[in-house]
Symmetry: D2
Subunit: 429 residues, 4 copies
């Protein structure tokens, strides 16, 4: 199904008066409101193809209905989101779950929804039915050269799919690690992984264009391996990225840390080193819980954006294009599309709040060791109700003032169920 | 397949000389060696039926071969374990994964292997294909009375299966909880769960026998719900158990705590309150990792046994029979049977070491605030190499001196693959 | 020093226009704005006497200047805070750091600032110079009856001081526990502690008045003991409170939990049981960091207030008077008075936001398992900028629109340094 | 006081028969027993001067008696330990707590006990009475160049003291960080710290000798700063060390990590990078608890030694001399000397067990993905009772078979109290 422009217009018209009242108040209160709105319009968050179906845990999965049954339907779902919020203008594919049979056709389809292809994701954490060798004991780290070769070739194939679709980055998340003390020679696992990554790195296209290919090395503290992970923290990821070369970067996923980690500091240091490549948004309380962005620790999210803006501005980076922004969540008890609407909005709110931070005053407070004032400056921004600015950005870009409300009013899920049935399971899950 | 007595005898004969040398040394060194050996012979650990197949995570599962395809084959596998170590003389079933079609026949089959039926486990954390109502939003806590009723009836059915098999306890593990702030009214979730448990409790058989039925209320800090669990810690479990009555107890699973929890203290307090009912053994580094018992924190396991013995002895409880002892692990990268052999041995070692603790001296040191001495007393026991005692206990009971070695020498897994095939998946997984 | 009414009036006058503009907007937007303002006026948070000086860690302490040198000066400092924000109308004393020589005089002095005496705090975690027996190995749990007796008598003395000052509650925080496995018999430590608490409980005055004395049993997961704490979690605290009787309650300190604990659920359960007695506010990232309230996890603070309001309303409890509200923080790098102003404001903001939650709609969403909507309802309230309401409540009560700004404009700290000197150290630290 | 040779001889004679019986058994059982004993004799662990007095927490300190009142008495205490165990042949000083007035005399005194000077420790986490500028807001990271300069000069002075004493390493532990979001510009804090470290690095002596000076950059996750630490994890420490140059190394303290960190993997990676410089031993359950080594997680300690041996052997490093080995604990409830005897023994046991690991078999198991076997190989070593080997190593080196027993039999603490008094407080605490 596809949204019609009039549906959004009708929705906005009904809410316009109340919206305008709030907006006027806040544009009066906030000096740089116009700048913020414009930056929000430019800021797009990629939707991963696997987030369009219901997720689950090892204990069970409780699917809803109307899940996309094909790559085309996944693109259609992201198109729907983008039509509603005008902020989800990219899709991130996962191979082999989303192998495009006809790259050009898929590219056109996406373009028809205003979507581009963000980072490509390879999968060496599962065995596919027709796969000759198993990843049970790792992929790029495997003791058997043949398994490593299989995993390397898979990644190179993913790059090729990416080239065909106009993507320009590859995210390598490895579940490689060990479940028990003794299982792994940590050093050799590192060295073998590095060697494998080097071969993949060598296959990155280099067309001298304006947006050269990047490789994102994602780290994770634990799960599915429960003793060690070979790319376990930002320290190891940065080691890999530095050894690989200028096209390799670290990717930060909010749920991939040990308890209490200071993620915003990690972000600042990686930006300092010029090695932050991308971001996976979600939220968590215990581990890699993959909850809706901003649902557990919205202030941490704001603090992370505060560092992102500071670090990117200092290097003259473009907020919208110079890092890979993606949601990576698992929707176990919510409608995936509703969850994604909430997640995108939470990201936009945090971004907008961070844009309100008076950076000159903050640096002044810091240089004076005025800890109280520094906190006030941050919380002044965080406590500001930026929802009207975010809504206005959506409106100006052609989206809905209240995407979630409209999603429900239009009975979109019910329509999808009508089209696709109750018992679908999104490919890959 | 079944082990022949001569196979064990041959194995033991070959190892007997070396074993005897070690044993003699240690029985000389350890005053109560004979008592320890006898207690080890009596001590039996139940094997859960679901632990006989390869486990997995939400990211994937890498099955081995020769997994049991039926309840009968699961019982056969536990029979094998028990033949090897003479310490796994019980099986804990999971309904609906292991519904016995003919209770009497199953009971006889188990008896033929020397096995009895330990606690029965109900399942309201998954939806079964033919199930009218979904547990997506909980079972005993559910807002809808009909869902609660369905879950109550399932538990009562499980009790009936247990009665048929000669079990006398029901373990209720609830995944009930919430994934997001706001989702749940904590109080009402508690009250509804209590009300549901009361109905199940009322269905516990009361035949006035020597081993009256018990209900174990298991707690877990997180997963599969990632914001709150309705039976989330020992405090809530004890609240439930106290409100339910004398047949209700708390069950402790080693992997179900927040980071750094002092589990041995929890054990001591629950025993003090007369409310510890049973134990699920495994090990973990991060969360409910379900690793091989003793593979990560063997000293913690010893400290727990130290409290178990102290608390049970004080109440005149029988180590072997007055608590429910069960392994609850997930074998993702090891052969399940090998993993279970390692787990049982780790439990026996910890139990034996804890039996060596000089309790009179320990209490004396405590009363004198002699912290250094108290630590020495515990570590004196822990550092003792009790492997020869454990081996001797197995030998005397008719088991193998080195079960794992024999398992491999006899090519048992290969034989099972021969019988059952490479691509089997244990029922329930 | 004391604030003059005209100083506040001048300050407010200058800010009035801007304040009024914001207030008008929000009172239009928020249906129950007037109710919220009134509840904010009624809500008072006690200041602990030890929080008026610079705190520190085992590694060092970096005092500022002008710290209060006596109980009188501590009261004066709280008086200052209360004059500024009209929300700190109580002080919580710590014995022996704040022994009043003349109870009546101290009571009058406090009354002159509009202050009452909140919970009294005993101290058995330190040895005082003239103390016969040491608490090195615990106090109420101690193996030596004489030490326990000394600690019991100290607590009874604290109650007497409280009676003289018009307080009606005693907070018992015990550092009792152990640093090493083996050191403590957990059960006996519990039993001895219980026995000791029973003697203190028996000494609680019972005058049949409208505000009968309460005993708050505070729990803490770790520190200063690093292996076990005898009152280590809400489960143990509740066990003690239930065994003690109706005047005993659990006290929750936000920093006293294991990593990732769901404190709001604990709050809900304790309220359900009628056993929540009081609250110590602070914030933390790692352990008992004792940071400014709301500086790390403001959303968690809001969620806690959401449960507090829900649970208290259901039992018909008075928000302002039926629980003990206190800040318990350590000001290591901020001016203590500024830190307290920020903390009180953070509490008020969370309280106000929680008062905005549409509870009927929330329950409706819960009963419909509408997780998305439930989250929206909570975040709708949390994202609302309630600062104008909080400022208005202060203004109406006679306080400053911007207490921190005024504190700085009036150079209050410099004046205190002038009065008291640069090198003062608050008594007790 | 000083131990006489005959006292040790008498003690050993009485225990010799029982010792010999155990030793004979184990030297028969363990193929490489002689090698292990020799390596144990060579292995020396430095004692930090501050560990000789009772430690404490921010809540209190409960001193024992007979604590050393001067640097000379601290050296004497380490001399005592070394006489007892012949494994504590080095002392690590802390400036300004241990400023030697006469370097040569102190050096001779130490030599008379058979002690050398291990790493020197600077202190910029406290303000000293006569110090012009405060470290309240950091030292090497401070926004004020003058404060940084003061801290740099202090470190250079510490190096000079070290040169005079024959030490050849400087440990820089910085408490620098922040307590609140906003307080610090992470990047500038890093850059300023780096710049300061570079100046200290430049002052390292370079005499072309066989043991060139090293700088150890210690990291810590939190405390005393509770929001961020500028050298917060091994990733940041390694960044600093790499930017500084070949003489800079990372130092690992067991208590300085986030919950659940895999320290053994960190050790392996740092050794791989040639950047592990030294080790601070202690144990912990919650944070930087600074408990007796091996008292909480002895298996983790073994796993760390397993990596140390593997990594050092591969690079041809000398176990005894190529890394800095030091205890860093706080003795809050134990006699400091007894605690140190327990700690040194725990380190020796872990080292000995790790020397028993059959490395060839382990690598073979790993290359075959035989996880079960790999675990068996490690646990085979860990479960071996190596106490007789450790005792024998002590005996051969001239130490006591049971140092703790002898310490008590000789009433050493009472003698020290006799000499020094009951109310001493070790300098620096």
């Amino acid at each position: 199904m596809q949204l019609e422009a009039y549906q959004i217009a009708d929705h906005n018209n009904k809410l316009q008066e109340a919206h305008q009242r709030k907006l006027s108040y806040w544009t009066d209160e906030i000096a740089n409101a116009e700048t913020v709105i414009q930056k929000l319009i430019d800021f797009q968050i990629a939707i991963p193809s696997w987030a369009l179906g219901t997720g689950g845990t090892r204990f069970g999965r409780f699917p809803g209905g109307g899940e996309p049954r094909s790559l085309e339907e996944k693109i259609s779902d992201v198109g729907l989101l983008h039509a509603l919020n005008q902020s989800s203008g990219a899709i991130s594919l996962h191979i082999p779950w989303d192998i495009p049979k006809d790259g050009e056709a898929i590219k056109s389809l996406a373009a028809s929804y205003g979507l581009r292809f963000d980072a490509m994701n390879s999968n060496t954490f599962q065995d596919q039915p027709d796969q000759p060798l198993s990843y049970k004991f790792g992929s790029l780290q495997h003791v058997d050269r043949a398994v490593r070769q299989q995993a390397i070739e898979h990644n190179i194939e993913v790059i090729k799919h990416g080239v065909a679709l106009g993507s320009n980055s590859l995210t390598v998340w490895l579940s490689d690690g060990s479940c028990f003390p003794g299982q792994l020679n940590f050093r050799r696992a590192f060295e073998r992984t590095l060697e494998s990554l080097e071969e993949i790195y060598a296959a990155l296209p280099d067309d001298g264009g304006t947006a050269p290919w990047k490789m994102f090395v994602e780290y994770k503290a634990f799960e599915p391996n429960f003793y060690s992970m070979t790319v376990g923290d930002w320290g190891s990821s940065l080691l890999f990225a530095n050894k690989l070369g200028p096209k390799a970067y670290t990717l930060v996923d909010l749920g991939h840390h040990l308890p209490n980690a200071n993620i915003e500091q990690i972000v600042a240091l990686l930006l300092m080193e010029g090695k932050l490549g991308g971001f996976h948004f979600n939220d968590s309380k215990y581990g890699d819980d993959d909850l809706t962005v901003g649902s557990i620790r919205p202030y941490q999210l704001f603090l992370i954006f505060n560092e992102l803006i500071d670090g990117m501005d200092r290097k003259g980076m473009n907020h919208a294009t110079d890092l890979g922004w993606m949601i990576d969540a698992s929707h176990n008890v919510k409608d995936p599309l509703e969850d994604l609407l909430q997640s995108v909005e939470a990201i936009q709110l945090a971004y907008a709040q961070a844009l309100l931070v008076d950076r000159a005053a903050l640096e002044e407070a810091r240089e004076a060791n005025d800890v109280v004032r520094a906190q006030e400056i941050l919380q002044e921004a965080f406590r500001t109700d930026v929802r009207p600015l975010v809504a206005e950005a959506r409106r100006r870009a052609g989206g809905a003032l209240q995407p979630l409300t409209l999603f429900r009013q239009l009975n979109i899920r019910q329509q999808l169920i009508g089209e696709r049935g109750h018992k679908t399971i999104a490919t890959g899950l």
